[in-house]
């Protein structure tokens, strides 16, 4: 009888035992989900028969109709994104913003269900967690918000979710009264905020208290915030309603809801 002892042979024996184990481990049967995946993607890429020309308003002047427009906001330096960028960016005057024409993809179908906002936090946590000073909207029309924090993009992201009320109708896309999101604009090099502006939606440059902003009117697809190598924050595009986007003091702010442009600007003006 041979009794193995000592540490030398143990790793080899253990490896051999593990390899033997791998032949005998029984995983549950692989589910047949390939067509479910494909079905979801096909629904998303079905062309909209009610295609209407899309107009971009730049400084009040109507410009050309483009089938699909992707509004790409580059925070900080321009990241490596294929397509035309810089020529148009200067036109718009929004630091790092460009509008990109992307005819290769039809806009994805839009889902309303989940808002991937991170985790619910208390007001104290919302002040403590991000790498910036938290700003809040001080309008009397807004009720008590739920607050969410996500660790992406870099520096963190805080979203205030205001409930619908008599004074603030629920958005068809999100089901809530108002979404107010903020994150740092200056420290992120590779964060890309993509809004795919679908048929009928209008993008307009606006002045938000002296800062440059964009008003997007009409339902459009919102991709969320992605960093080029950060796979954690990939999101399926969701339906977004009217939205005001602007940058100020190194921060990016976004307000979304079933509101008009002037209402959005009023909320923005209440920023503290």
């Amino acid at each position: 009888m041979n009794r193995r002892s000592g540490s030398g042979g143990d790793f080899f024996a253990l490896e051999a035992a593990l390899r033997d184990l791998s032949v005998h481990v029984e995983f549950p049967p692989t589910p047949a989900i390939a067509d479910a995946v494909a079905a979801r993607l096909r629904v998303a890429s079905a062309p909209d028969r009610r295609r209407r020309p899309l107009w971009i308003q730049i400084q009040g002047r109507r410009t050309l109709a483009i089938a699909v427009v992707v509004l790409v906001i580059l925070i900080g330096t321009l990241a490596a994104i294929p397509g035309t960028r810089t020529a148009i960016a200067d036109l718009l005057g929004f630091e790092g913003v460009s509008i990109e024409v992307d005819g290769s993809r039809t806009p994805p179908a839009l889902r309303f269900d989940r808002l991937d906002l991170g985790r619910a936090v208390t007001p104290a946590e919302a002040r403590r967690l991000p790498a910036f000073r938290l700003r809040e909207l001080a309008s009397a029309r807004l009720g008590t918000p739920e607050i969410y924090y996500a660790a992406f993009p870099e520096g963190g992201q805080v979203t205030f979710v205001y409930p619908a009320s008599d004074d603030l109708p629920a958005s068809e896309e999100t089901g809530v009264g108002l979404l107010f999101t903020q994150f740092r604009a200056d420290i992120i090099e590779d964060v890309v905020v993509q809004k795919n502006v679908s048929q009928g939606a209008v993008v307009e440059a606006v002045d938000v208290g002296g800062s440059q902003g964009y008003w997007v009117e009409g339902r459009h697809a919102f991709y969320g915030y992605t960093a080029e190598d950060d796979l954690d924050v990939i999101q399926e595009p969701r339906a977004a309603g009217n939205a005001l986007l602007w940058q100020d003091g190194g921060m990016t702010f976004r307000i979304e809801g079933a509101i008009t442009r002037s209402e959005a600007l009023e909320f923005a003006a209440s920023l503290r």
């Binding site: 490896e15 184990l21 290769s104």
Partner: protein
């Protein structure tokens, strides 16, 4: 098991251009691996299925960030493992690794003596138990390396750790597994050669 790089490259190119059918073929190719990686993390077939499905959908939308020419498997497995970790429930509900019954021997194997069979089965069960007792990181890396035969790059992607640390992590995990196995009752007997 390597994929066939050229075909993947072609399918990827088509998928990036919006060809859902081409992507579906990619999904078929990687489905089993993705599901098993997810299962090792979630230990629930239902959660693993959901994680795999979400991961493939997200991967499609993220294809624009995939660097053409680099390896698809690690990139995909990073997404899969993220989704699986998001769906992991408490340890109490974790299913153990199942072992195939002794009758399911590969065809052509000479029938071992019944005592060898019993010993071998006991040894495997003891090893599974020892693995289950490891902390999560150790359990995962050993599972990825030996049960799924992932490469170093793929292990790094699935664990979300720097590639250069994989060897040392694996080595430490093996050391801890060896200690658990050595300390388990009955180990002396199963290591005996007859």
């Amino acid at each position: 098991m390597e994929g066939r790089p050229l075909e993947d490259e072609e399918l990827l190119g088509l998928a990036i251009a919006g060809d859902v059918g081409a992507y579906e073929r990619l999904v078929q190719r990687y489905l089993s691996l993705a599901f098993r990686v997810a299962f090792l993390i979630t230990r629930s077939a239902a959660d693993a299925e959901e994680a795999a499905q979400e991961a493939f959908v997200k991967a499609y939308y993220a294809l624009r960030t995939f660097r053409r020419g680099s390896s698809f498997r690690p990139w995909l497995l990073a997404i899969v493992s993220n989704e699986a970790r998001n769906r992991r429930r408490s340890d109490a509900r974790r299913a153990a690794l199942a072992l195939r019954a002794a009758e399911d021997r590969p065809i052509g194997d000479a029938a071992p003596s019944s005592e060898e069979t019993v010993l071998a089965e006991e040894r495997r069960a003891a090893l599974v138990k020892a693995m289950e007792g490891l902390r999560e990181d150790d359990r995962m890396i050993i599972g990825y390396r030996y049960l799924l035969e992932l490469s170093e790059e793929e292990i790094a992607a699935a664990l979300g750790c720097p590639r250069g640390t994989v060897k040392s992590r694996l080595s430490r995990a093996m050391g801890r597994l060896r200690d658990v196995v050595a300390a388990a009752p009955g180990t002396q007997r199963t290591e005996v050669d007859l």
